[in-house]
Amino acid sequence: MIAMLWAPLWAVLLAVGSGSIPRAEILLRGPTQGATLDCGRFGTTRVELDLARGEERRLIVPLAHRPLDDAPPEIAGGALFLGYREPSPRPARPVGTLLPPVGAEPPRADPLALVLVLVGALLVLACRRRPGWALAWGLCLGGAVALVQGRGGPAPPQSARLLEGELWEEDGGTLWELVEGAAGELACDPAGDLEIEVRPASAPIDFRGRFEGARAEPRWTVRSGIRGAALWRRAPLDVGSRRLAAEANLWGDLAAVWVRGEGGVWRARGSWPLGDPLPQAREGASPPGWLIAGLPMGRGALVARLDPAAWGGPPSPGTGATPARVWLRLVGFESKGER
């Protein structure tokens, strides 16, 4: 209870937990159905893989934490800990460090369900001299409330993606990074992702790798044991020959575009179809506040919301789909006459 009373303070001090993903090598020996690596309060890694007697498989697995003394995590199941993998050198990344909001808002009560709750209370009060009837009414109304509120099943998980880019003035090259977030659970690729971030930072994270067959590649997900927690993954992004320049949009249809000149003023440009030059500035809504946060001053920038049909990066690992909401930021974007 003491820790809970200090929760608001912790929330401020540890707003976001982040870091590159520690990896370890393990050896699974059959017969086994998998193993769990326990990193204490930081979280767990669960590998689900059926191996018959005599079968073995070496695996590189992500971990929630790597201690300073390199002590191995506690392992349950038929696995042997072979050691930590040294992290690969961190590649250069764009200037932004933004996490797109993933809408971890709690669900709202249905008005009809609220009316039923009120009716239930009145009926129970009316039957206060007959407790058996009161309990029966409570059960009936409780069931009705569950039916009304439960319509439609669980709300679909909300996820969002941001493509963050930086255009280098020296050679005209660009550097791109993909940041994808989701509330509760996130499909991830520990081999390709650079970092996993979780909010609140104190939340433990649990990796889970599921294998469809003994030789198949795993499908990894990461979730937090804390309700309402949000998770993000960062990965380098290869955009191929796609390019955004004032002369032509060689990326895809952009549903809404805003451009900032060196003077620091944001101007709406409306939608920007593929192949067209950048539209002229026009009256329009301001860009979302979170999307323009943390951008370096003195440099041009472009932020945009992608059309659902436009290329928004590779499909998410595990789901094979791209999140419905994809945003883009490009630092160093210049358009003539934009101040």
Binding site: M1, M4, P107, L135, Q149, I226, G228
Partner: protein
């Protein structure tokens, strides 16, 4: 009982009312006032007369619609049904056990229950509010209280039922099954 009903509904709907909502489990949030009600002494004095508090069936009848609403919201949030049901079952077991205890408790048993369920966690919280940490023994005792259990889950706690939940369960069982103390 009316106060517990109002408090549980207000806690559940605080987000809609513009007040920061507890970020943890909805069912445990709703259970908090009901567990507090169950931990109060069984008799209330009104106008010079002792009035018996509501029995477990009446209180359950009033609490169930709100609890089912909380359960549905929790499921809609995407929390696995097994975890939510296990937590709700445990919470209802605490509630029923405490209601049984307070209906039977007299003298020493009443005092012990009041201390362990209500006073110790509140005292620990007050010490923490002052900035210092409570003695470990006191904190350990507070962990055995169903109120502390519900509070932890209501404030961003882990999902599911954990081995540590056996402590409050053991306390409630001991209280509910303890022989009636002499007046």
């Amino acid at each position: 009982m009316v106060a517990a009903w109002l408090a549980s509904l207000a806690l559940l709907l605080s987000g809609r009312l513009g007040v920061p909502q507890p970020s943890g489990s909805f069912p445990s949030t709703v259970l908090l006032p009901w567990l507090a009600l169950a931990a109060l002494p069984p008799l209330q004095r009104r106008g010079g007369e002792d009035v018996r508090s509501p029995g477990v069936r009446l209180a359950l009848g009033a609490a169930l619609p709100v609890l089912m609403l909380a359960l549905s919201l929790e499921l809609r949030r995407g929390i696995p049904a097994g975890e939510v049901c296990a937590e709700l079952t445990l919470g209802l077991a605490f509630f029923a056990g405490l209601m049984r205890w307070r209906a039977r408790a007299r003298g020493g048993l009443l005092l012990a229950g009041l201390l362990l369920v209500l006073v110790v966690p509140l005292f620990t919280a007050v010490i923490a509010w002052g900035g210092s940490s409570a003695p470990p023994a006191l904190e350990l005792l507070a962990r055995a209280s169903p109120l502390d259990w519900a509070y932890r889950r209501a404030s961003s706690a882990s999902a599911g039922v954990r081995p540590a939940d056996l402590c409050p369960l053991a306390l409630v069982l001991v209280l509910a099954l303890a022989p009636r103390s002499a007046r």
